[in-house]
Every structure is written in C-alpha cells, then in structure tokens.
C-alpha cells in the first residue's frame, strides 16, 4: 500500500548517515574507506529498495563548501553586507580585501570559487580603477560578480570578461539588499554540491533535488516551536563532525543591518568535533577563557589530547562555548546576536548523542555568567532524536522538491 506522502529522508553528514522513515530515525556511522554511495547502499539498500526515487529526499553536508574573496569599499557597509549574504548562502570560507588597501593586499594562493566586488550606492562613480584589475590578475578564480553602484557597471564589465552584474546590495538608504546576490550564491552552492562526484551518485536513488543540510535545518526553524518545547526568541546550534552551524531569527541580530526578516545562519567550518577536531582545539587554546573553563569543568588541559569519551564531551562543550563566544559582543568578526534576549537554546546534531541535559546546561551557564554576567540562562532543549532536519524536509511539497534541475 502506498500512502500519498510516503517519504524516506536522508541526511548525509560527514560522520553519520541519518535515515528517517515514518518518524523513526536511524543513524549509521560512516565507513570513510568507501565512497558515500556504496556505503549508503550497503547500510540502507534494503530500505531504499522499497521506495521510488520520487519518494526519497536527501540533504547533505558532506561537501566541502565554497570559498569567496570579497573586495569592498568599506568595512561597515560593502564588506559587512557581502560577508553576511555570503554566510547566509552557505559559503563558509571568506576572505576580504578593503579596496583602500588593495595595493598592499596579498592575493590568495588557492583557487577562489567566487570573487565578489562591491562598493557605493547607486549614483556614485569613479570608485574602482586599474588597481582592481592588477590585483585580480594575480588571483585565480572561477566566478566574479559585481554588486556595487550601478554607475560602475559599464566600466567594470568592459574590463572584466566573465563579470556577472547583479543588483546593488547597498540601497540608497545604505541598508542591505540581499535578494539577487543571495540567490546567485545559493545557486552556486547548489551547483557545487551537485558537481561533487560523491554526491552525484546519490541522484541514482532520488528524483528530488539534494539540498545542503544547513539550508534544510534553517527551513525547519519556523516549525520547531510546533514540535519542541521552545520559546521565542531561540537559536539552534547544530554541532556536527565537521562544522558547527548556528541558526537564528534575524531580529536577534545586534546590528544596523536591516534585512528581510526570517531566519539566518552561520556556518563555522573549523569547529567540528571529529573531522575538524584539530582546528577546534586550536581555536579553543587561543581563547582567553579556555583555562578558566577547563577548570570550571574540573578537567586539565591534557584532556584535549585524549581520545576518550570524556574528552569528546569536553570538546563538545568547548564547541558550544566557542560558537556562543563568536556571536557574542566579545567577537566582532561575525554577526553579533542579542544572546541576553534568548529564551531557548536548541542543541542538535551529533552533540545530542554525547552530552546530556546537565552537561549542556553547565557550559551554557558558564558562558552566561562569565561573559554576559547573567545568572539566569535560557531554557536548553536537546533535540535527542536529532529530528529537526526532518521538519525542514517535510516542508517541501512534492512539486517543489521535484522541480527541474538545471
């Protein structure tokens, strides 16, 4: 018997496969010696065989992500807005050059997926000159997009062959205009996922578009309060093997940026507990509060070198602390969230298998006390079944999900 909305859902992570069937979620630890597709078929092939490709939906965080280089006119507007849009489009490796300093800036050595050039409100001209072209000559890049003043479009298009020109991201009132650039970058990100050899094979079992997991989790946010006991405003911290993502509603942003509302996310590529364990430890060691924190957790620094269950717990706690730190007012490189206004913090991802309620509360209490001088902490909700991603998947109507892929 086939029910009308029978679905088999997969989340292909860097460490686990998760499979959701009829509300039951199973986890499979990945075999890193085998291609993703073969590993998945061995572990879940029998179940997959029971479904038609239209009934199977997949999201994946197993791709590496895209890199961008942003060249902008000022820190507070051009660069800030472009960084924000890039983050929210799933791009996680971001390098910036302030145009004023372009003479002395070092071109990145790696291949850049997309260069973003931005500056000026419409009506402002003579912004860019030969210094831009000289700099770009020394950069290796795949795509280049211009999202600054309309008055510079003709000049830049003439000089830069592959240039894609989109709406200015800075409005006449100096506010942010996300639309066109966000769509462009999200599409690039999608194309990148689909271009990955490993992921390509997955289209043998699904007729639906494969989305990135952070995108899906973000879509789930508006459904969370229907299913879990959370109070607005809240954030979702998704701590996985390779990355840590934080999802938040945009009215929590402490900023003059006026966006379109809704939910946004940040991806911290170097804060995972398995694949990017080394960089997590490195980031932790550099944090001014880490020794106090380890002391508070009653452990010593040596634990960071251990390969034990206790060590993993401490790393998870560190990851929570570090993402909160990075979006707090102690850290200015990222978006600043009004953490003092939060009513709930939802934890999802691999972390829910490792930390219990008390251990999660302990670290969050340390953060609130130490950094915000608060004695009350928001309610902590553990997504124990790790099911939040499935809310985001269910949101798709079949029609939307099967939309033609270009």
């Amino acid at each position: 018997m086939s029910a009308p909305n029978r679905k088999l859902l997969f989340d292909i992570g860097s460490t686990y496969f998760k499979m959701a069937e009829n509300g039951t979620i199973r986890h499979y630890f990945r075999d890193f010696n085998r291609p993703i597709f073969d590993d998945l078929m061995e572990k879940c092939g029998d179940t997959i065989a029971k479904y038609r490709p239209e009934e199977i939906q997949i999201c994946s965080s197993a791709n590496g992500g895209l890199s961008t280089l942003i060249i902008g006119l000022s820190n507070s507007f051009s660069l800030k807005y472009a960084i924000n849009i890039a983050f929210n489009s799933g791009i996680n490796i971001i390098d910036t050059v302030l145009y004023h300093d372009i003479d002395t800036a070092k071109p990145p050595v790696e291949m850049i997926d997309v260069v973003i050039v931005v500056g000026g409100i419409d009506g402002v001209g003579r912004i860019f000159d030969d210094r831009l072209f000289d700099f770009l000559q020394d950069c290796a890049y795949q795509n280049i997009v211009y999202v600054g003043s309309a008055d510079e479009r003709g000049y830049l298009s003439e000089k830069l062959e592959k240039l894609v020109v989109l709406d200015n991201i800075i409005t006449d009132k100096l506010k942010i205009n996300e639309g066109a650039l966000k769509t462009y970058l999200t599409d690039l990100y999608q194309a990148d996922i689909m271009g990955k050899e490993d992921i390509k094979h997955l289209y043998e079992i699904t007729a639906n578009q494969i989305y990135s997991t952070p995108y899906i989790v973000n879509r789930a946010l508006s459904h969370i309060s229907d299913r879990l006991d959370v109070a607005d405003p809240f954030i979702v911290i998704d701590i996985g093997g390779a990355t840590t993502d934080i999802h938040y509603s945009s009215d929590l942003v402490n900023d003059n940026i006026v966006g379109e509302g809704g939910y946004d996310r940040l991806v911290f590529k170097k804060l995972g507990v398995y694949k990017s364990r080394e960089s997590l430890i490195h980031t932790a060691r550099q944090n001014e509060f880490v020794y106090e924190l380890l002391n508070y957790l009653n452990v010593t620094e040596n634990i960071l070198e251990e390969e034990s269950e206790a060590a993993t717990k401490v790393l998870m706690q560190l990851a929570i602390f570090l993402v909160l730190y990075k979006v707090s007012r102690h850290h200015s490189d990222y978006v600043e969230l009004k953490l003092e206004n939060l009513n709930s913090i939802v934890l999802t991802g691999g972390i829910t298998k490792v930390l219990n309620q008390e251990e999660s509360e302990t670290i969050i209490r340390f953060f609130y006390k130490k950094l915000l001088h608060f004695h009350q902490i928001p309610g902590i909700v553990l997504d124990k079944n790790y099911e939040i991603w499935t809310y985001g998947m269910q949101e798709f109507t079949n029609e939307e999900a099967t939309k033609e892929l270009s």
Binding site: S76, G119, N256
Partner: protein, 135 residues
C-alpha cells in the same frame, strides 16, 4: 548635496537626530541618517559609500571627546573623493568644563565646524554659508 549624519558613540539621545534629519531635508540636502549609537568608522565608511559632501555628527551625552579625538588619525586611513566638511554639535562637554575651550579642541581633532549647545538652525545656517564660501 549629500550629508551623512548620526549620533556618535554609545549615545542614545534620538530626538535631536530626528530633528536634524528633517531640517536638513527641508533645506534640500540628501540625508543618510545612521541614527544613534554610531561609531566614527561607520561615519567615515558611509561617506566613502555615498560620496557625501558633509558629515554632521551630533553628541548629547557628554562622551563626544572620547569618541572623536582620533578623527585625524582615522581620516588618514581613507581616501575621500571630495573635500568633505566635518561638523559636530550638541552637548560636547560635561559638567564644569570651559565651553570656550571646546571649539578649538574639536577643531584640533579635525572638525571644520563645531557647535557646543548652539541652536540647530544657527548651526545649519552656518553650514550653508560655509559651503557657499568654499564652493
């Protein structure tokens, strides 16, 4: 003519800011109002992005000095394509500070026009005359 305006530092006194925006518009300026709680860097960044002719900073809570004393140093990190007029007004000092000392002090910080507890319209008339004289 384009004017960037706002209230500098951690200053939340918003009433004057609204009045300034309205008055400037009435006088025919294009206004970019960054609102309260604005840092000096943001003001200068806004000039660069908009190609503004005038920066009009206001400060009411007495913290102007602390927030503006590095203007000269900061200016050196920018290339403006115009000769921008830097202007500040509001309550520029605290308590028993000598009001006569305030104007030269802020001029020294890099402001062309300084108005301590001066009526807004007087200030804006002075600005217009200044712009005419330097046109």
């Amino acid at each position: 003519m384009k004017v960037v305006t706002g209230v500098v530092g951690n200053d939340i006194h918003v009433v004057a800011n609204r009045l300034i925006e309205i008055s400037l518009k009435e006088r025919g300026f294009t206004v970019f109002n960054l609102g309260v709680n604005t840092y000096l860097e943001e003001f200068l960044d806004a000039i660069v992005e908009t190609d503004a002719d005038v920066l009009l900073i206001s400060s009411l809570n007495g913290e102007a000095e602390g927030w503006c004393r590095d203007l000269q140093i900061l200016k050196k990190q920018y290339t403006f394509r115009k000769d921008v007029v830097f202007m500040i007004g509001g309550n520029l000092g605290v308590g028993e500070m000598d009001p006569d000392a305030l104007v030269p002090k802020f001029k020294n910080y890099g402001f062309d026009l300084v108005f301590h507890q001066v009526d807004l319209n007087v200030g804006l008339d002075t600005l217009e005359n200044y712009l005419k004289a330097h046109a």
